[in-house]
Symmetry: none
Subunit: 250 residues, 2 copies
Amino acid sequence: MLTPERQRLILQMIKEKSVVKIQELVDVTGTSESTIRRDLTQLEQEKHLKRVHGGAARLQGKLQEPSMNEKATKNLQEKQQIAKYAASLIEEGDCIYLDAGSTTLEMIHYLPNKEIVVVTNGLMHVSPLLEREITTYLIGGFAKHKTKAIIGRGALTSLEQYRFDKCFLGVNGVHSEFGYTTPDQEEALIKQKAVELSREVFVLSDSTKFSEIAFAKIADMHEATIITNAIDDDTLKQYKSKTSIKVVTS
Amino acid sequence: MLTPERQRLILQMIKEKSVVKIQELVDVTGTSESTIRRDLTQLEQEKHLKRVHGGAARLQGKLQEPSMNEKATKNLQEKQQIAKYAASLIEEGDCIYLDAGSTTLEMIHYLPNKEIVVVTNGLMHVSPLLEREITTYLIGGFAKHKTKAIIGRGALTSLEQYRFDKCFLGVNGVHSEFGYTTPDQEEALIKQKAVELSREVFVLSDSTKFSEIAFAKIADMHEATIITNAIDDDTLKQYKSKTSIKVVTS
DNA sequence: TCACAAATCAATCATTTTCTTTCAAAAACA
DNA sequence: TGTTTTTGAAAGAAAATGATTGATTTGTGA
């Protein structure tokens, strides 16, 4: 990876996330800590960012970002942890299905610099994927305004053209009896089909969605591995009997 | 491989990828590292690129932008006129195919407030269409970074699911003998298919593209109605014998 | 508040990669 | 044929990189 390419990637991540840890940059760029530090030193001298202990931050010169409330920040951090772990599961040569949704969108920052192919139904996902120079296919079909997802009958037939090594889904409910659920029937159909077509299925869900039930069922517990964050021991035990769970810690 | 040919290839790769490694250029051109280095040195002196350790990078045009601006503004106005007229042709209940590209993108501003359905292969087109609350379908397939268009075999089969009342295409060349052409073979295939599937076909082209020929043929003159701007009488007569032309005036 | 452990940092050095320079062979040209 | 230009290879110089070390900062619990 060439120096300007790497530095542009660093600036882009800081632009999007305001702050970024050194370790994140190491993972994303695939270089060493030393190199990242040297980049940060240089970029700071060029007034492109401000170094802080543990990483770097965007310098607020022009417009100040509305500071998120504490909960939103916490949710974002949790999402990032989950997304980061999920991304680490991807291997060279994998064909990936990336579901529409904010958590899977976070994954793109953390995707390894490997030769992979990504298929998605998320309109928001395409640009960042192409920026990362990842081979990207988009499902065809009806464009849903609210979630910027491609859905409908056309999307199903379009999806059937592909097979996946791994599939990463967002959900709204995780329940030991009712399985994985989401509010929109149409989106559930797409997710179901993606599960069918994948060798391994991962559900990305923060712990607040546990024991929740939404309208439309996607799959049973045992059909996917859950990637989640802090969850109490009793709940964990209850779910562990039905599926495999990866708990990401801070 | 001739020197100017090689250097053009280098510039093209940098234009597309922003940065390029020396080894990539060696592989692509089939020449030695020394030759590539000499080319890069020369092209840097001519202010066509910037050398960086390991390769070369595109120089971001503070030098190029202003000179482009005047022309770009004029082009934009012409594009808007053409786009506005094209949009005025759309009727209540129409099913429309909107090709990827900047001129068709302009059309979205001018789309009438009627119940219509739009199918597109342009990634940039989807968000503005949804903002206008227009029923939108996106073709599925490979996402091309440079033009933000969906292309490839999957796109063709995806497109075949639909039929259109009207189809609006951008092109790069309009020639009385060779017909409509575009530089990318893959994109040409999509445009061809769209022509097949449409009752009426409109080509949006400013007059500078007349008598130009690009690599891949889309269709013959008689297969589409041209929507264009100022064009001299002789040229107009020449083309009028082969197709119908709508000339938009300022 | 203090002390201690863990994380992060800057500085340094060996290694690897890339660059420039130089030279001779090959190709193009007259 | 002789001359000029282009090319590829080689060697030493320069730059970038990654690992290591010891110093500094941060967080934690008493």
